[in-house]
């Protein structure tokens, strides 16, 4: 297994994730892999048994995975959401904001660049499920 950048304390799932189709047919899997064309909402009826959702980015410019992650978090999913594939340092901050808490990129991340990318943004404009208080709330507290 390559290096995984993780922002969780629990034990990582150590077996391969199944496709969404396979998951919907075999009810005992606890790790699922979402491709860009999959509908994350298909997982919601059985979300309670899932510990890991891998969201695949075949190319970094395909942004569907950002919506998938937010939809899972908005539904209350608290397990791991791991971005895999063509995942670049400059995307980590937005991915964190959308609910990703683990990253397994095809190409290794430079730790220094990663740290800078994650530390650059002191404030946020929008509300997501990441718990950060948006600017427009801070202004009126």
């Amino acid at each position: 297994m390559t290096d995984i950048l993780r922002f969780r304390d629990d034990e990582a799932v150590d077996h391969p994730a199944v496709t969404v189709d396979a998951f919907l047919e075999q009810t005992n899997a606890n790790a699922v892999r979402i491709e860009p064309g999959d509908d994350a909402r298909d997982l919601l009826p059985q979300i309670g048994q899932i510990q890991l959702v891998e969201v695949n980015f075949p190319v970094f410019g395909d942004g569907r995975g950002y919506s998938a992650a937010r939809i899972l978090r908005e539904a209350g999913y608290e397990g791991e959401i791991r971005a895999v594939g063509d995942v670049l340092a400059d995307q980590l901050n937005n991915m964190r904001r959308c609910g990703f808490d683990a990253f397994e990129p095809d190409a290794p991340l430079d730790p220094e660049v990663t740290k800078r990318a994650l530390d650059t943004w002191p404030e946020v404009y929008q509300a997501t499920t990441d718990g950060r208080n948006p600017i427009w709330n801070k202004r009126h507290e």
Partner: protein, 543 residues
């Protein structure tokens, strides 16, 4: 106008730091050009035919004199002493070095400006009515809503890698001066029967190779749900917009293929879900923003001008617009001198416009999507003095909405996508119609030129539109008639086979002759065309 607080400033400063780091990694070879490209595009940096082009955002087209002076200084320091105002109310510089880009962004940040999301497959700069806050016919000032949307759309974590670019316009008047229905989302601020203010959403308009007029998908969104509704529109697009073909990736194709009804159903479903998520800013935030857009201290004064100087009187008739206070007008500074490059301004001209805005217009200017600049609040008593100074700087051309007020894209002179030149054609047409004296007889006639099918010059929406195409290696121009970007939004129809450059100029001349022959009463070119149809024009052009 809006002023940054420490939060807005922190966001822009963070972006400068981030981009410096990214550019440095690119220069060191740690980022490939493929990886760097979307990052530089999200900061407005394009690689054009000859150099990098930097597009700077002017949110909803509003800027003050300090900002305009800074734009002039950038033109002098980093470019060749001029800039180009665009159809999305921005400015772009054509001769930028990558090594300088970080410093330019830092200079911009000092005057509360940036180049964030002026390119790339993300939500672009929000545009609006250039007479906002001044027009006699508006319901409210649309800019507070545009500013709220600006903040929401800036660095939106979910929507940085959309299928394609995404443009939003906000107006608050029945008269559409922002081509609202030709945007990915057009918002009209309206009042409902209960007297409440809300937002009417039009989604899926656009120009480009498949022009579409946006259908109305919701006639009233309450103001405390505005951002949530916009987020729902975007999420459906991000998830289901086509990504297999970049020419079919705009939201207009999704709305067209699903049908407006089905798209609306999906948006409403997502909206119902998102309402539970608490993502809407507090209404107090909109109220806070509104305090920056209150009226300046207007004073009563003369309501008419001395018309004894005919040149001045002509400029007043053509280039001023009715103001909500009857002692004021909005004055348009034409960036379309006869034979000039539409939308270009030199650094000296920018400095002068800034000084005049400070002296005569409460320190405020607007960039128009027609590539001119407005001084929104000018005392009628000051008009002659203002005109004299503009005229002396070649900024007093009296041609607003006339045939010489041409919208043109940069075309093959700068743009790597273009098939044909736009600028020289615009120059020659404006020279022809100034020399033969016909401009004065033609009245309102909006002519728009695009150098390729991407339609940056809005040719679909021109009363007369010209599209440059490449025909076996030779520049060829297609003519279309009957388009409109106003509240009567319409897409022009192609007259028939295309023309070479000289031929298309003659063809425009012919078309205007047909209009003058058939014109009844006070009809504009567009009215006559709508009444008599294409046939008489075709006959004159091709028989």
């Amino acid at each position: 106008m809006y002023q940054y607080d420490q939060y807005d400033q922190a966001m822009v400063d963070a972006r400068v730091a981030e981009f410096r780091d990214q550019a440095q990694r690119r220069l060191e070879g740690k980022l490939s050009e493929d990886q760097f490209k979307p990052l530089r595009l999200m900061n407005g940096l394009y690689l054009q035919l000859h150099a990098y082009m930097l597009r700077v955002a002017i949110p909803y087209g509003t800027l003050n004199s300090t900002q305009m002076h800074a734009l002039a200084d950038i033109a002098d320091k980093y470019d060749r002493g001029y800039g180009h105002f665009t159809t999305r109310q921005n400015i772009q510089y054509n001769w930028i070095k990558l090594e300088d880009a970080g410093d330019i962004l830092a200079d911009l940040a000092k005057v509360e400006m940036h180049a964030i999301q002026t390119s790339g497959n993300c939500i672009r700069n929000i545009s609006s009515d250039h007479f906002a806050g001044a027009a006699q016919d508006e319901l409210v000032d649309p800019r507070p809503y545009a500013e709220l949307l600006r903040q929401w759309s800036s660095f939106h974590p979910e929507f940085m890698y959309l299928p394609r670019k995404f443009k939003i316009a906000v107006i608050a008047s029945g008269t559409d001066r922002a081509a609202m229905k030709l945007h990915d989302i057009g918002i009209q601020i309206v009042k409902n029967d209960a007297g409440e203010i809300g937002a009417s959403f039009f989604v899926g308009g656009g120009m480009g190779r498949t022009p579409m007029i946006a259908p109305n998908i919701r006639d009233f969104v309450p103001l405390d749900q505005l951002i949530t509704y916009a987020e729902a529109c975007l999420r459906v697009y991000n998830r289901y917009g086509r990504r297999d073909n970049k020419y079919k990736a705009r939201i207009k194709i999704l709305v067209h293929e699903l049908g407006a009804e089905e798209y609306t159903r999906q948006v409403e479903e997502e909206f119902a879900h998102l309402l539970e998520q608490g993502i809407e800013p507090p209404l107090a935030e909109l109220e806070r923003i509104k305090t920056y857009f209150t009226d300046p201290a207007f004073e009563d004064g003369p309501k008419t001008v001395d018309r004894s100087d005919p040149d001045f009187a002509l400029w007043v008739d053509r280039n001023t617009h009715r103001h909500k206070h009857d002692s004021y007008v909005s004055a348009v500074i034409s960036l379309k001198p006869v034979g000039g490059i539409p939308g270009d301004a030199t650094a000296e001209q920018m400095h002068l416009m800034a000084d005049l805005a400070k002296e005569y217009s409460f320190d405020e200017m607007r960039v128009m999507h027609t590539q001119n600049v407005v001084l929104p609040h000018v005392k009628i008593a000051d008009l002659h003095a203002l005109w004299a100074k503009l005229d002396a700087a070649d900024l007093g051309t009296p041609n607003l909405d006339q045939i010489g007020d041409i919208i043109a894209c940069p075309g093959l002179d700068y743009c790597s996508l273009a098939n044909a030149r736009s600028i020289p054609l615009a120059q020659k047409i404006s020279e022809r119609f100034a020399a033969n004296g016909k401009q004065d007889k033609l009245g309102e006639l909006k002519l728009k030129i695009s150098g390729c099918i991407n339609a940056c010059g809005h040719h679909h929406a021109g009363h007369i539109g010209i599209l440059g195409v490449d025909k076996k290696g030779v520049e060829n121009y297609q003519l279309s008639l009957g388009g409109s970007e106003a509240e009567d939004t319409a897409l022009g129809k192609i007259t028939g086979r295309g023309f070479d450059e000289a031929g298309v100029i003659d063809a425009v001349d012919t078309v205007t002759d047909v209009y003058l022959q058939h014109k009844q009463g006070e009809e504009r070119f567009l009215d006559t065309y709508n009444r008599i149809g294409m046939a008489p024009f075709k006959e004159a052009l091709y028989d």
